[in-house]
Symmetry: C2
Subunit: 239 residues, 2 copies
């Protein structure tokens, strides 16, 4: 038998509690766009990103921390918040040294579920920080959960695509008895050379492209353009 | 806008209630091996198959109907039942005209969930009855749910592979805004010419092959070898 740690892919927050995630490193994946934005803001020097579930919390924590509040619904900045959920809104000239308080629906919920279920460590993953995630997972020698945030609990292609990209890089370091992981790796192998056309087929593309977010979504599948590792500690995502 | 009915693929029973399945035809998919066995028994002339959740129900309904009781755990016939869950156990010479009372874990549970959630019609699908399922769905002009039984709520490759095979045959007749369906279709396209080697990669293969069930599993991915449509009516699956 192998002594390698295990790796599983969870395709929806609804499926998280099927897995024993205690002692696991859980990678929260929300490719369009929360975890891509988190990596980008931290890469550009944000002091921290505070992920929150609700708009009310976002406004309140924004006040107590002096942070920038951010969140979108239907492609628009939410009333009462300062900015949206686009990585393009957070260049170094704007975000360096600041606190970003970010409310998103799918990704933040999964992150809090992972914490409540006893994950040993929670980090966030996206194509912009693909290698940073892979290098970390290889070094940790702990069991891994690749947690796809999905969309309202429905499986989505782009999060599975990222899980597959991670698996293809690190599979030799893990024992993988997990059909979700095999599927994700297949999906990535099939589409790694046509990612920009592939993402146009996803339901999320159709949802967001109607708000004029095509450039944003294309950025979100660029590997290693914001290559830092956001780690959750005491309420903050920091690098 | 299109007037075509919709089609969605549900990757685990845990995800079924995300979808509105009222007025839908729900296809229960449990490739290894419940729905393959159901198609085979009915193709070989069984009068009906009664799917039940528990061993106790199986024994009781076997007594009241005079039916053959069947079910497996860990590759062996369950104590107190007559036969197992292998399609090879039900040739015409044995099953013709008889009632089969079958207890399985994943498939039967999903079938009852679909009924409880108000499905308009429940049928069962597997490679042995692939074309019968596709022809029926094309004719019905109703919304469709392809329901994967999964394994203890975990996504499995073989059920998704079958969903993909159905989608590739009938996609022109439906509006498909569903990432699970796009993934399943991709998976089938990628592996349709290497199905026998592909199924050897699945977790279920590793679970069942250790019981000497390789021949059974290979049968379960043969298209149209038991090409009937099992429809659920008043507690029975009949053709």
């Amino acid at each position: 038998m192998s002594n390698k740690p295990t790796l599983h892919t969870v395709l929806s927050p609804r499926l998280l509690d099927i897995y024993d995630i205690s002692n696991c490193v859980v990678v929260i994946i929300d490719v369009f766009r929360a975890t891509s934005t988190i990596a980008t803001a931290l890469y550009n020097g944000a002091a921290r990103v505070i992920p929150v579930d609700t708009v009310e919390q976002c406004i309140q924590i924004g006040k107590t921390t002096g942070g920038i509040t951010a969140g979108e619904r239907d492609g628009k900045v939410i009333d009462g918040l300062d900015y949206g959920n686009s990585p393009a809104e957070y260049p170094r000239s704007f975000i360096e040294g600041k606190t970003l308080v970010l409310t998103t629906t799918n990704g933040t919920r999964l992150l809090h579920m992972a914490l409540n279920n006893g994950a040993a460590e929670v980090v966030t993953g996206s194509f912009p920080n693909l290698s940073a995630v892979c290098n970390h997972l290889k070094m940790q020698k702990k069991n891994v959960i690749l947690g796809c945030s999905a969309w309202k609990d429905r499986f989505n292609l782009e999060d599975a695509l990222f899980a597959g990209a991670v698996i293809k890089q690190i599979q030799d370091y893990f024992t993988i008895h997990c059909d979700s992981s095999l599927m994700a790796a297949d999906l990535y192998s099939l589409h790694k050379n046509d990612m920009h056309s592939f993402i146009r087929r996803t339901t999320h593309w159709h949802r967001l492209a109607s708000y004029g977010l095509e450039k944003d979504l294309e950025y979100c599948v660029l590997p290693d353009v914001a290559n830092v590792l956001p780690v959750y500690k005491n309420g903050d995502l920091i690098v």
